[in-house]
């Protein structure tokens, strides 16, 4: 174990014919992405308070919490539709309230909740208060979307700059398919969509691109090396050659994220599950989407672009 590798994920000389499954892969991906787009509209994302505004308070009560009593106390304090939920242990209560139209109003609600809890639940402790006013949440949302959009743009520019345009098109189409799936995942799981989640999606995008870059790098190399090999075989060969790496890196990143999902606490587990989902999707899309797109774009196109470079190095 300490000197030689004990296992290999994929045996040497493996040659899966991935391109045979290209139509199935692309169609399946398109279907899942389409469903995700539908999910984005109904039921839609569960926006966290960063983006929606509102109040979340986490309270620890001295004895197992009496949710009805808390709800009643809040309602009688004049608060509109308080959501009182259990999270973590049975002494931990999360209270969600809508944002008020004015910032000062939101602050008054926070004060009312504190008051109501002090009176009805003596000994309870407020562990966390997050109150985001309507104007701030609108700005945070704009900034988050801006960060997301600009990162996609930067990645596109980088790939366009470093590779032939066919690769850039392949990478961006794949990324769009990946991101829509991640959004579908968020809509289904009802994880809070907030700034941290934007971070998760960005990381997934970064990782997924990274994966494509490695596979594309190999294809570019092989295009120069095997000048007469049909593109279809060449793509299969490149994927097979990098398969150990693709799966290996996915595994390490998956293993790093898994403890976060399991023990990271309420605020990070949604983040980590999204990461895990994104890693699986990103790995699959490197093989089944990004590569076939190049095949669809055509052999002549790629060879023509690659030829002068190959001649120079040869």
């Amino acid at each position: 174990m300490f000197l030689r590798p004990a296992f290999r994920l994929v045996k040497d000389g493996t040659s899966f014919h991935f391109m045979r499954g290209r139509f199935a892969g692309v169609i399946l991906s398109a279907i899942i992405s389409s469903i995700s787009v539908v999910l984005f509209f109904t039921p839609g994302l569960n926006y966290g308070i960063d983006f929606k505004g509102g109040i979340v308070m986490e309270v620890r009560t001295p004895a197992p919490a009496d949710f009805n009593a808390i709800r009643a106390a809040l309602t009688s304090a004049g608060l509109h539709e308080p959501q009182v939920q259990r999270f973590g242990t049975e002494q931990d209560v999360a209270i969600h309230l809508e944002a008020q139209p004015t910032e000062a109003g939101t602050q008054q609600v926070v004060a009312k909740v504190r008051d109501a809890l002090d009176k009805s639940q003596p000994g309870s402790k407020i562990m966390r208060t997050d109150a985001v006013g309507a104007s701030v949440s609108a700005e945070l949302f704009e900034d988050g979307m801006l960060a997301l959009g600009l990162s996609l743009l930067m990645i596109l520019l980088y790939i366009w700059f470093r590779f032939e345009w066919q690769f850039a098109v392949g990478a961006v189409v794949t990324l769009i398919l990946d991101v829509t799936k991640a959004i579908g995942f968020l809509a289904l799981t009802r994880f809070d969509f907030d700034l941290v989640m934007v971070g998760a999606i960005l990381t997934v995008i970064g990782y997924s691109t990274n994966d494509k870059v490695v596979v594309y790098d190999r294809m570019r190399e092989n295009l120069r090396k095997y000048k007469s090999m049909p593109l279809r075989e060449l793509i299969d060969l490149s994927i097979n050659e990098t398969l150990n790496r693709t799966l290996g890196t996915s595994m390490t990143l998956f293993l790093a994220s898994l403890p976060l999902a399991l023990f990271g606490g309420s605020s990070l587990s949604g983040f980590a599950w999204t990461m895990l989902f994104g890693i699986v999707v990103g790995t699959a899309s490197s093989i089944f989407i990004a590569a076939p797109i190049l095949l669809f774009l055509g052999e002549k196109q790629l060879r023509r672009e690659a030829q002068p470079v190959a001649n120079k190095t040869a």
Binding site: M1, F2, R4, P5, A6, L9, D50, E103, A104, V110, K125, I126, M127, R128, T129, A131, V132, S135, V136, L140, D143, L146, A147, S151, M154, I155, Y158, I159, R162, L195, V196, V198, G199, L202, T203, G206, T209, N210, V213, V214, E241, R245, G248, T249, T252, L253, L255, A256, S257, L258, P259, L260, F263, G264, G265, S267, L268, F271, A272, M275
Partner: protein
């Protein structure tokens, strides 16, 4: 590629050692005071504390400015002997309208009021347009910006003074954007008191009352306000608009107890200007009531029994110990130029922070263990080299974060973990490549050389995209998520060093010592 000069070896190892040294401040206190001793700050989500985002009410800053310039304009027009005029501040359109009875005097009027708009930088805040007999002074965009900046800067100063009075340790107060202030209060679990202190403008004025006015009348007579009396519902007092002495002329204010009836009071002292003015007013108005007004509420309206010339006074107004202390704090710290509203609040109790640190640490340890076990099992010796490099990656990340005194948040811890997962990608690429080169019949040394060379371009490409994405997140994200972006970007840079340089050094040293024919990949 595979040759390491002594100097290069020393530099690589030196960097690692320096990294380890730079991490020390996180565990120990400085042995001697002159050593640069930088450590990572824990974010409020981990150590517990409150984060408040305050917004300066710009509408009221503008209204205040327009009102004061309008007041001064009336005086200036009177001095300039303009016949008849009506000056109306129009806050909604950020302008002041001056209507003259005689259109021929418009140039004279303009000359009279123009100097009033000049700000501290000798620039005029207003644009003037004349139309017939109407002169309009509109706040210009630079003028608005100047006002806003000034209001925020002043507010920050006052906020700092008020918070310092409460004894909060290490508060961080900074400006954000054009009209916002960030207040970070480590260790403050319940920011209620501070919110109350910051929620008051605390502009105190001493004004005379109008004893003849009937407060039941629907509209106050000109120059008089009907202001509510604090702590007494429904009662209003007719107070003249003219400010005799301003709270800005106070030098000190302390809460105390009245020696006769034990009631809580606030004792204050005027500066020389305040003393003179107060002496003047109180001498002329013996037997009349004056009002102490705080934020448009009358705290008390005592009758002047004798001239007060010593510059000291006492405010009594049904205080208890806490409210008297709060008022004295507010008066000492000074008035805010405009009201502040809390637009975002995040507070975390220390217990929850400790829970988060524990959860983060467990996840980090477990993630690190899994990744290292994977590398060991799947790549053998070279995997263990990568693992040692991974530990140094963690050390170097901590070192850089310490050096910049970066703030570590919970998402930041997640970022560290993800970096560790991604850092070994470079080693996987290299090891796979070496393996491939060797299987194509290259010698051990040549395989290593080609493996590193070929993999390097790929490593840079694949890291560059992730790096770019997170730089964007840092610039456009806010709050804890920036901590995430910081740790990941730093981690990407350090991992390039450890995963390529350091592992290569390990491999080369091992190769020179063992001279194997076949590499164990």
């Amino acid at each position: 590629m595979m040759y390491f000069s002594r100097l290069k070896t020393a530099l690589v190892l030196g960097a690692c050692l320096l990294g380890a040294l730079l991490c020390l401040p996180n565990a120990f206190t400085a042995p001697v005071s002159w050593l640069p001793w930088h450590s990572i700050h824990l974010g409020l989500d981990l150590r517990g504390g409150s984060y408040l985002l305050l917004e300066v009410d710009m509408a009221s800053v503008i209204k205040e400015r327009l009102d004061s310039v309008a007041d001064a304009s009336r005086t200036a027009l009177r001095t300039a002997k303009i016949d008849r005029y009506v000056v109306t501040p129009d806050a909604a359109n950020k302008r002041i309208m001056v209507r003259l009875a005689d259109a021929s005097q418009i140039d004279a009027a303009r000359a009279a009021i123009a100097p009033l708009g000049v700000n501290a930088n000798n620039l005029n805040d207003f644009d003037y347009t004349a139309d017939g007999s109407t002169l309009t002074a509109t706040l210009s965009l630079p003028g608005l910006k100047e006002r806003a900046t000034q209001a925020v800067v002043q507010s920050i100063e006052i906020v700092r003074r008020r918070i310092d009075e409460t004894g909060v340790v290490d508060p961080l107060i900074s400006r954000q954007g054009d009209s916002r202030i960030i207040v970070q209060l480590p260790g403050v679990e319940d920011p209620n008191r501070i919110k109350q202190l910051l929620g008051k403008t605390a502009r105190m004025t001493f004004r005379l009352t109008d004893e003849t006015a009937n407060t039941a009348a629907p509209v106050a007579p000109p120059g008089v306000d009907f202001l509510p009396l604090e702590n007494t519902a429904g009662q209003k007092i007719a107070v003249r608009r003219r400010v005799e002495v301003d709270g800005a002329n106070l030098t000190d204010a302390r809460a105390g107890q009245n020696s006769q009836n034990g009631e809580w009071v606030v004792n204050f002292t005027f500066d020389s200007i305040g003393t003179r003015r107060f002496a003047d007013v109180s001498t002329k108005n013996v037997g009349h009531a004056f009002a102490i007004v705080l934020d448009d509420k009358v705290i008390s309206a005592p009758v002047i029994r004798e001239p007060i010339t010593a510059g000291r006074g006492q405010i009594s107004g049904r205080f208890d110990a806490a409210s008297a202390t709060d008022l004295s704090v507010l008066l000492r710290a000074g008035a805010l130029p405009a009201p502040l509203t809390v637009v975002e609040e995040r507070s975390v109790g220390p217990e929850l922070g400790a829970d988060s640190i524990k959860a983060g640490a467990i996840a980090l340890a477990a993630g690190l263990f899994f990744v290292m076990a994977y590398m060991g099992v799947f790549y053998g010796l070279f995997g263990w080299f990568a693992n040692i490099a991974l530990m140094f990656n963690l050390i170097l990340m901590m070192a850089i974060l310490s050096l910049f005194e970066a703030t570590l948040t919970l998402p930041g811890m997640a970022g560290i973990l993800l970096t560790l997962g991604m850092a070994v990608d470079a080693n996987i690429l290299i090891n796979e490549r070496i393996r491939e080169e060797q299987s194509h019949g290259r010698t051990a040394l040549s395989s290593m050389e080609h493996g590193f060379q070929r993999a390097f371009a790929t490593i840079v490409d694949s890291n560059a995209t992730a790096f770019l994405a997170h730089v964007m997140l840092f610039f456009f994200g806010a709050g804890p998520v920036r901590g995430f972006a910081v740790t990941i970007t730093v981690g990407i840079v350090t991992s390039l060093f450890t995963a390529t340089m350091l592992t290569r050094l390990f491999m080369v040293r091992w190769f020179i010592k063992r001279r194997p024919q076949v590499l164990p990949v």
